[in-house]
Amino acid sequence: MENRIQRFFLTALFSLTAVYGWAEDANKPSRSDQIIEPDLQRRELKVPKIDSQDFEVGAYYGVLSIQDFGSEPVKGVMLAYHVTEDIFLEANYAMSKGDKTSFEKLSGGASLLSDSDRDYKYYDLSVGWNILPGEVFITSKYAFNSALYLIAGVGGTDFAGDSAFTANFGVGFRLLLTDWLAWHVDARDHLFNRSTFGESERTNNLELRTGFSVFF
């Protein structure tokens, strides 16, 4: 009898604690509730990179005076990297075509070079120096940044069925129409040795050209 009473109370007690326990569990705030979520969102600070525009790419057109072979149109492309405000590195590639020499014209038939050998191609790798940077004023309304630069370098020339080491030097003027668009006028001399007429001789190949370039 005693045993039965004991069992009854114990069962009742267990079930009560169990229910209470459940209830307590339900009332307990869940893990995610417990941590106080800060109301403000952390700002993602992304510092944008400043766009640097030290490269310049462009195209030009002009006249190339090929020694003994007349003055002919020349067209080319350029790529420059501005190292400092004073110094830049420039690469050029251009094409032209030699005309007939005076001898060929006078003699009538004789042709010294085949047609494909008259193709004149050169490339230059040069260092430029903005020696006279400044501003150009057009009327009282407009001011454009500009620079007069000296440039010199080395490169190669393909002409008359041969390739020749070529030194170049010159002077140029750059006018910045906007921050990224420039207009150029250049005068260059290309010096190389050529033995088209038998003995090797130094030739001067003067070039006058103009073109546009963009900075990126």
Partner: protein, 254 residues
């Protein structure tokens, strides 16, 4: 009618995208705060261009773009006093970025030179008596080790040619302003004998090379470089050909 509407909508969308892009680009300019007493706005990206405006302490300026050591900024956007001008990176380095830190400008100096990854330059000299012109690019893995790719053209009395090489370059003392290096590499040479002089056909051969050289950090992003290389051209003939090369040139680093 429907078609006209569709066209109008398309046009509007296009305009919206176009202007949206511009507006977006505008918003992307980095606003910085002036903490020095003032910064000076020049009319152009150069030390000689006149100062035409001054942004005082506390002013917010927007950094638009950089050219060499100058940053173009805009101040007082959408007000009658809106100005755009060029500020030296030395002054910009003292402004505060939105995160409260000093603006991280790329300031090319000797420290930056020692941390450089990319390097490129032009060289000229003598390749076994022939004139040679080269352009190269290098990537620095560590301060000591870099790889280089080089393209050259040479112009000789008997032949012209083109050379392409790849090299591993080791620089034992990167902290020196005048720093020596050793180089080891290989590549190809394409030889074009002069038809007027010798009867031979164009050929290409493999080559290996070893060399020593020196880099001299000049200023800003600029360095001078001089090197000597000894090439062994692996010809089909009975003996391999040995060519000595001297070169000097200018380089820049990024």
């Amino acid at each position: 009618m429907l078609f006209a509407n569709a066209k109008k909508i398309a046009l509007l969308l296009l305009l919206n995208t176009a202007f949206g892009c511009i507006a977006h680009a505008d918003d992307n300019y980095l606003p910085v705060k002036v903490v020095d007493p003032f910064i000076e706005l020049h009319t152009g990206p150069g030390r000689g261009y006149p100062i035409f405006y001054i942004a005082e302490r506390g002013a917010i300026v927007e950094a638009m773009k950089q050219r060499t050591d100058w940053i173009k900024v805009r101040i007082n956007k959408d007000t009658p006093r809106e100005k755009e001008g060029w500020v030296s990176i030395a002054q910009m380095a003292k402004t505060l970025a939105p995160d409260g830190e000093p603006l991280a400008v790329s300031h090319p100096n000797f420290d930056a030179y020692q941390q450089r990854h990319w390097e490129g330059g032009l060289m000229t000299g003598s390749f076994g008596g022939a004139d040679i012109v080269s352009a190269y690019g290098a990537y620095h893995f560590t301060r000591n080790i870099s790889v280089e790719i080089e393209g050259s053209q040479y112009f000789g009395s008997f032949s012209n040619g083109k050379i392409a090489t790849g090299s591993l370059v080791m620089q034992p003392f990167p902290q020196w302003r005048i720093s020596p290096f050793v180089t080891l590499g290989g590549g190809m040479v394409y030889t074009e004998p002069k038809s007027t002089l010798v009867q031979a056909t164009n050929r290409s051969d493999g080559l290996i090379d070893a060399g020593i050289g020196v880099r001299y950090y000049l200023t800003r992003r600029f360095l001078l470089r001089a090197q000597y290389k000894n090439y062994v051209v692996l010809t089909d003939q009975e003996t391999n050909q040995n060519v000595e090369e001297w070169k000097i040139g200018f380089s820049a680093f990024f």
